[in-house]
């Protein structure tokens, strides 16, 4: 980004304008483009897709009226929310109340800075990239706590408190799982981590050894908890806390929280992809060699699909699982996930001393295990369909 601006300025553009101003305006412009062209549609489409997927899993149809298959539903919802009255309760702390959604939003948006969409498609490849992500996503908790407190509502307060406890606790298993990969890759940079892996599944850190395999699921679970997703959606648990910390919000401010939640899902998927699933790595085909443009597109598509797969999994989990209780959430974290993640960390460290040949065999074996689990899963799906006797599916009058 900076390099591109430098190039422009050398070419004589923006004569007489201070360099810093150009940078600032350039960054703002870039941020605006990223926000409006990528993040907003992404979060929106995710919200639509979640409703569709959810509906199908519940034998329903889901929103299918606005646009083809209802894909523009999110636009309609957004406009509706924009036009709604913006209510700030009289007894609320007005400044904090208005500020909270933006802090939550910022927390998730800042993560996009270091997400490597492709070999060169990254806003800034910080050398502490993954640490930066862990840091800025924790900002969300400040916003949620602020929302819960400022609403001056008991439900909101309970939701905010739950959220604080939850996010802070689950930072630990998530962080330890990340550390595992950092040890293997020897770098904190996102691009560095991706370059440490290969395009083929057996070169991914996911299948590097049994501990990273388990570590991946630990990371994903912890990330779900940090993202306030079912089964860990206790801060907004609608059947207990009405709507948790968003109880008093309405209109656009309300939307911002959910914007952040759905956008966050993609961040979770992207980080998981970067750390465990080989990121944007594509097979070294001949057609990519002469065409950097094609390569960039292929890398972007690969990364996007891999990341979106985990967004889908998160939706799917939400459709399946009940919610845990707040004390169970804590015991799950401290009694199960923290010890297990440390075991995985130690195991990974120990594994680094295994000779290269042994590592390769393990990778192949783990890849085989992964494939086997997938096959078993689909066999089980077939079993479920047969078991429910679709030929007896009861037809209503229509």
């Amino acid at each position: 980004m900076q390099a591109y601006l430098d190039q422009l300025m050398q070419g004589g553009a923006f004569a007489g304008v201070p360099r810093e101003v150009v940078y600032a305006i350039g960054m703002l412009l870039a941020a605006f483009i990223v926000l409006s062209a990528f993040v907003a549609p992404l979060a929106g489409v995710t919200s639509w897709l979640e409703r569709r997927v959810w509906a199908r899993m519940q034998s329903r149809v889901g929103p299918n009226r606005v646009g083809p298959q209802g894909i523009l539903q999110w636009l309609a919802d957004g406009i509706k929310n924009l036009l709604k009255e913006d209510i700030i309760p009289t007894a609320a702390d007005k400044k904090l109340f208005s500020l909270a959604p933006y802090i939550v939003f910022m927390g998730f948006l800042c993560a996009f800075v270091v997400i490597p969409f492709g070999g060169h498609l990254i806003v800034a490849d910080l050398n502490i990239g993954i640490l930066y992500i862990l840091a800025v996503t924790s900002l969300v908790v400040v916003g949620i706590l602020m929302a819960g407190w400022a609403s001056n509502n008991k439900w909101s307060l309970l939701g905010g408190m739950r959220s604080a406890a939850q996010i802070v606790s689950y930072e630990i298993p998530a962080g330890v799982s990340v550390l595992m990969i950092v040890f293997l890759a020897g770098t904190l940079s996102m691009q560095g981590i991706i370059k440490g892996q290969g395009w083929a599944p057996w070169d991914w850190y996911l299948f590097h050894n049994p501990f990273t395999f388990a570590g991946f699921f630990l990371y994903f679970t912890a990330a779900l908890a940090e993202g306030n997703r079912t089964p860990f959606d206790i801060p907004e648990a609608e059947s207990e806390l009405v709507a948790g910390y968003v109880t008093e919000y309405s209109g656009m401010r309300f939307l911002f929280f959910f914007f952040a939640e759905w956008g966050n899902l993609y961040v979770i998927g992207a980080v998981a992809t970067t750390l465990f699933l080989g990121g944007w790595q594509v097979p070294p085909l001949a057609i990519f060699e002469n065409s950097p443009m094609l390569l960039a597109v292929a890398q972007f598509v690969t990364f996007f699909l891999k990341a979106y797969l985990w967004v889908f999994v998160a939706m799917w989990i939400r459709a399946t699982l009940p919610r845990v209780r707040v004390d169970q959430l804590m015991s799950l974290c401290w009694k199960y996930m923290v010890p297990l993640s440390f075991i995985c960390l130690l195991g990974t460290v120990a594994f680094m001393f295994v000779p290269a040949n042994g590592q390769r065999i393990t990778s192949a074996a783990m890849f085989g295990l992964g494939v086997a689990i997938t096959i078993i899963f689909f066999l089980r799906v077939g079993f479920q369909i047969r078991q429910a006797k679709p030929e007896l599916y009861f037809k209503p009058h229509i």
Partner: protein, 185 residues
């Protein structure tokens, strides 16, 4: 907490989540149960309702004998019938026959007692209105004469059709045997 129960907890969780997720995934490829309402079905929704469906009440005043059985049996008193003596024809006329759909609880008692099947539940169910008064159905907007059943069947072809419809309704809906007794004969 022993190690065994610790491991069992973990494996139980993983297993049950796996099982649950396979079920929800299998629903992705199954047919959804819901239908698009109100469009996207081949026939009007009213035609898909079962015959006994108790929708909004309708009255065929041409075959109403004015026996007031429905008015008396209505537990919620939503039916009011007025019968006046017409001075010119020396016959009794309906002055009004109103049903307050607001109050009606669709219990079906009135259509069961009707001797001719004149008051009956239609298949209609969409009764939204902007004010309660709009939900009062006036079945006798102008005075109308009472129907007198003739011995040996109805001779007027127009009325005969209506009498048949009423009788059919009585046979299929209002008779408690639902036609089973007739079947036995």
């Amino acid at each position: 907490m022993g190690v065994a129960s610790y491991i069992k907890d973990v494996t139980d969780t993983v297993k049950s989540v796996f099982e649950g997720m396979s079920i929800t995934f299998s629903h992705l490829v199954r047919r959804p149960m819901t239908i698009q309402y109100p469009d996207k079905i081949p026939v009007p929704i009213q035609e898909t309702l079962p015959h006994r469906y108790r929708g909004i009440l309708e009255v065929d005043l041409d075959i109403c004998t004015g026996c007031l059985a429905c008015e008396r049996v209505c537990p919620i008193t939503c039916i009011t019938i007025g019968i006046d003596m017409n001075k010119e024809t020396k016959q009794r006329d309906f002055s009004h026959f109103d049903i307050d759909i607001c109050k009606c609880m669709y219990c079906g008692l009135c259509s069961e007692v009707c001797p001719t099947g004149s008051i009956r539940h239609s298949q209609e169910f969409e009764g939204a209105s902007y004010n309660p008064a709009g939900l009062v159905r006036h079945f006798a907007p102008q005075p109308a004469s009472l129907y007198k059943p003739k011995k040996g069947g109805e001779t007027d072809p127009k009325l005969a059709v209506k009498v048949d419809i009423g009788q059919k309704y009585l046979d299929e809906f209002a008779t408690p045997d639902g036609g089973a007794a007739a079947e036995e004969k």
